[in-house]
Point group: C2
Chain length 335, copies 2
DNA sequence: TAATTTTAATAAATCGATTTAGTAAACCGA
DNA sequence: TCGGTTTACTAAATCGATTTATTAAAATTA
């Protein structure tokens, strides 16, 4: 079944392609009532569906944006993507989501692919390792927003959470509950949020006059978290509380705790910096530092659409407040 | 910064557009070494990036497929989408994921949008309510695969799990553990998997000589599950085990159980038909009937790509085996 | 009535690639 | 030396829309 094109509609309605195009774009300025009816009828009879590709080629815009998440397994990625999609949808913009899997090479490939597809702009959770490419886009004034991670040296609108401040609040909460031996578990400190959370952890301990014990600070690949954890907890003076720097680190901690049947919070308190979907129904419920993923996603989308409309302003960083949600996993030792 | 086109490259390399096109498509058959080098250099110097849109228009294929999931909140949707994406990626096909939110109108809009964007084919988790539209696509021989749900009357390749059989196995497991008062909690029975799971539930009880108690069969909107559950458990002869028909239903059950501090499995056993990401680390761990989402996604993608290549065969239903993973939430009463 | 403006519709150029048909030079055997 | 083949490359048509410049008729004004 061959495709019905605008030319077919035009022929059937006895008008020119131009007129059909005007009709489809609702430019009725000087269009006869009868012509309108004829075209409408022809479209219906032939079952005509416009070809977006052809339109995009001429108009030089695809009404599509791309999202490149660093790692789709992070809950934040999916929540933010959802928010972006919702916002774009209500502005008649489509979104394409790609997963770079924390791999700068994949990230580069996706950026090139999406640009080849002429998407009107990109929202990226940057790996941070493609500075050249980022700068290139900035130079070309290509609409671009960074999410979750700050890349210094690249002047782009960036949406993040106040990592240091809210990590600090989480640690303070543990200290207020009587903990002094607090460990932090994090993936390698390769990107800004992890570095900032580590800062918050260290500064807050110091501020409370607690010495930093380097053994309590574990920064390692996800796959080796459990091994490190075993060593830590088997050691002398094991920590009484753990701060998991993100959801994937927490998952490892949770698996370990489950396997070893460690009592939480009696033997070990736990807090997590990230959104955990089942935090409120697990046993025990989990204390989290939540990120306002919906607002962040919406903000990023707004910023990008502004840039696309040519109304972007001087690039800056938009830092959102987190939320410390205290649950059972960090209940007071004295309670 | 205006876009660099093939014409610019051609001019710079002192050849025709055609030659540049040949070069880009690696049709080196009769191309001089020097010409090749010239073109390569021109491309690098100008920073030329091909325009996929223009290519798609001429070639009448976008190398892109669409996925329309019924509800992105179902774990199955995301897992299957991931599998599809992975398979497509390795075949140089891009994917666009859309979420119909269980709404036939949105589903219709997405089908039309994606087809306007000239995607080469669609994988749909059908709401089942757009029969006209589905049939239309079939008639036009548009590449199409259904996932998770069977729509009778529409002859399309369909990938599902053996719902009745594996629901049955789950129920049998509960019966073998000494349960007789088994409730089933499900969303409205509007689509085939839910109907088939209910069949499995009923038939297995009957086969074991257990009378069906209509009060034990709750099929209602997600929002009212907890209320119904409260009534059920407060009633005379409350069930000793619950079969949650999918992940969202289970989430409601889990929340309720948490709120009321019901002991699982001592007071109430639970099994779920669906993939639950934290089933193995929750307390208690959760018995699930898992679906092979990865294989299912891969199969669907394979079927679709075959259709796109024009090598599709007579449409049929591909039913996959599930997997009963027994965990703490359904531990034997007698153990 | 002639000049001007408004209304209605169109022809043709364009977007940036791919593809087909064709050309010209070099080569080659008889 | 001639016809035929191979090699290297190109001009022009095409994909399906949008858009600009243009035309022609009808309505209005002077």
């Amino acid at each position: 079944m061959k495709k019905v094109t605008m030319a077919d509609v035009a022929k059937k309605a006895n008008v020119s392609k131009s007129t059909v195009s005007q009709f489809l774009n609702k430019r009725y300025q000087y269009m006869g009532e009868e012509t309108k009816r004829n075209i409408e009828e022809a479209i219906k009879e032939l079952g005509y569906q416009p070809n977006f590709i052809a339109r995009s080629l001429k108009q030089k815009r695809t009404s599509t944006i791309g999202i490149i998440v660093a790692n789709i397994m992070h809950r934040l990625s999916t929540e933010v993507s959802r928010a972006i999609e919702d916002f774009c949808r209500s502005n008649e913009i489509n979104t394409i989501v790609c997963n770079a899997d924390d791999d700068p090479i994949k990230e580069k490939k996706y950026i090139e692919m999406l640009r080849a597809k002429q998407v009107d702009g990109l929202i990226i959770f940057p790996t941070g390792k493609n500075q050249e490419l980022y700068k290139n886009m900035v130079d070309q004034q290509y609409p671009l927003v960074f999410m979750d991670r700050i890349v210094s040296d690249v002047k782009v609108d960036t949406v993040v959470v106040k990592n240091e401040e809210w990590a600090s609040r989480g640690i303070q909460h543990l200290i207020d509950n009587g903990h002094e031996r607090i460990a932090m578990i994090a993936p390698p400190l390769t990107i800004s949020p992890r570095i900032e959370r580590a800062e918050g952890y260290k500064k807050t301990l110091r501020k409370n006059g607690i010495d930093l014990n380097p053994h309590y600070f574990i920064s390692t690949e996800i796959g080796t978290v459990k091994k490190e954890l075993a060593r830590l907890l088997a050691g002398d003076k094991p920590p009484t509380a753990i701060f998991a720097a993100n959801d994937l680190a927490f998952l490892q901690v949770a698996e370990y705790v489950k396997e070893k049947a460690i009592q939480v919070p009696e033997e070990l308190s736990i807090i997590v910096f990230d959104n955990i979907p089942f935090a409120h129904i697990s046993t025990p419920t989990i204390t989290t530092i939540a990120q306002p993923s919906f607002e962040m996603g919406k903000k990023a989308a707004e910023l990008l659409l502004l840039q696309i409309e040519g109304e972007g302003t001087k690039p800056r960083i938009y830092a959102f407040d987190g939320d410390l949600i205290i649950r059972e996993s960090s209940e007071s030792k004295k309670a």
